[in-house]
């Protein structure tokens, strides 16, 4: 079932926490997890979300002007 998830990788923990807070307000099933080994990031945590929520997550990032590195499939 793993390929049902994606993660947002951030530059800073503050941005990750902010996105978590914004996504929670919309009731999305998200989780902060350590960055998977094959993806490198200095910020040790990333935000995991369900594949189908990608448009919603992208909108949250855009509307909130959140700086992030990238979104990856895991």
């Amino acid at each position: 079932m793993k390929d049902n998830y994606r993660v947002v990788i951030f530059y800073s923990t503050s941005a990750a926490i902010r996105t978590e807070s914004l996504a929670k307000k919309q009731g999305l099933a998200i989780k902060l997890i350590p960055v998977p080994r094959h993806l490198s990031s200095d910020c040790g945590i990333c935000l995991q979300f369900n594949n189908e929520d990608k448009p919603k997550i992208e909108k949250i990032l855009q509307d909130g002007k959140v700086e992030y590195e990238n979104i990856y499939k895991i």
Binding site: S12, S14, A15, E67
Partner: protein, 383 residues
């Protein structure tokens, strides 16, 4: 005991403030934004919630544009020293605290032009005088929103409009107003809002910060300090994004969890309600003091808007003597002297003698004010 020194530090605090600090020490403990274990993540969430509550209070869209400092002094130093360069002009008022005057004095020696616009002896600033002082090289206007000596307010909304029109940044020192007087970074046209946690936001000492408005180019605001941020660790250069650019080293997360609860308390009670309560206290106090012939009161029409700070003197008595008697004989805590604001005392005509200052908070009552009036009447009569 009656505590009337809230303009220095508010006391008591809502009980949730101390509880939150203890909770952090006992249950969380970890550094925010560094490690990826759950305690560190929880710590980062707390830090974010503190920003979020302040963002709600000041009407800031992005909580990450609020950066934390030790107090308002550090926030003002960051804004002033970070923005001003030799050859720039900065405009301020004659009602400023030394937290603005001293950094400006230092910057003046480095080639920054400092223009101090005089205010009336009642602490009133005419925005026309301020606009007239604007020149081609004016970079910044900095004003103290509420006077820590007489409680008067400077017209920040009007000045903010002037700053915007002239493409100048506007920095506001909200030490005496954040939490007890309505503040809105958008409506008041504020570019940089410096606040402290330990006064009307009911947080502990060691907390404060700076709101960095959208008009501020962070490339032109140099950090006061740089170091570890938990981000961009592969580079030896400071990260360029908010809030990390201005927040190096482990923050006072214990204090900030307390501040978060203090701000939530203010939001739950409501700033308007707090302001109204304090206004009732100030009117009662001033009307009581006015009936004592030996009392000289400073400031303007107290029925207009102001914060809960009053300065006065007693005929033939030094402020220090009055303060000592209030403490020792009447169990009343207040502050006497110059209140770190020589400029203000020169403006209101009380330099170098100073004044006796009473300052109230949400937790003071009309009964306490009445007792303070009786004490002053006794001391004035030489009892």
């Amino acid at each position: 005991m009656i505590y009337l020194d809230n303009a220095a530090t508010s006391y008591p605090k809502p009980k949730e403030v101390g509880q939150a600090m203890m909770y952090f020490l006992e249950k969380i403990g970890a550094t925010p934004g560094r490690s990826s274990h759950r305690l560190s993540i929880e710590s980062a969430r707390i830090l974010y919630q503190a920003r979020e509550s302040l963002a709600e209070l000041f009407n800031v869209d992005d909580p990450l544009r609020i950066i934390f400092t030790l107090n308002v002094t550090e926030a003002l130093n960051l804004a002033l020293k970070g923005l001003l360069r030799p050859g720039d002009q900065v405009i301020t008022s004659s009602m400023e605290h030394n937290s603005v005057m001293r950094p400006l004095c230092e910057l003046e020696k480095r080639g920054v032009e400092v223009m101090v616009v005089p205010c009336s002896s009642q602490g009133v600033l005419d925005p026309v005088d301020l606009e007239r002082a604007i020149k081609k090289n004016t970079k910044l206007i900095v004003l103290n929103h509420g006077s820590n000596v007489i409680g008067s307010l400077l017209p920040i909304t009007v000045v903010g409009e002037i700053a915007k029109r002239h493409h100048i940044l506007f920095l506001v020192d909200t030490a005496q107003t954040a939490g007890c007087y309505p503040l809105d970074i958008k409506k008041d046209n504020i570019d940089l809002l410096a606040f402290t946690g330990h006064k009307a936001l009911y947080g502990p000492p060691g907390t404060g910060g700076l709101v960095i408005g959208e008009r501020v180019d962070t490339k032109k605001l140099i950090p006061l300090k740089v170091g570890g941020t938990g981000s961009h660790s592969e580079f030896e250069e400071q990260p360029d994004f908010l809030p990390d650019i201005y927040e190096s080293g482990t923050p006072n997360i214990v204090g900030l969890n307390g501040l978060k609860e203090g701000v939530r308390f203010v939001l739950a009670e409501g700033v308007d309600k707090i302001h109204q309560h304090e206004k009732n206290l100030i009117i009662r106090l001033i009307e009581g003091l006015k009936e004592i012939p030996e009392v000289t009161l400073y400031g303007g029409d107290y029925r207009k808007e102001q914060v809960a700070v009053v300065s006065f003197n007693l005929k033939d008595k030094w402020p220090s003597e009055v303060g000592m008697r209030l403490d020792e004989e009447y169990d009343i805590m207040c502050r006497v002297g110059l209140h770190c604001s020589p400029a203000t005392h020169k403006t209101i005509g009380t330099f170098p003698r100073g004044t006796v200052r009473f300052s109230m908070s949400w937790f003071n009552t009309l009964e306490e004010v009445d007792q303070a009036i009786i004490a002053i009447r006794d001391i004035a009569k030489g009892a």
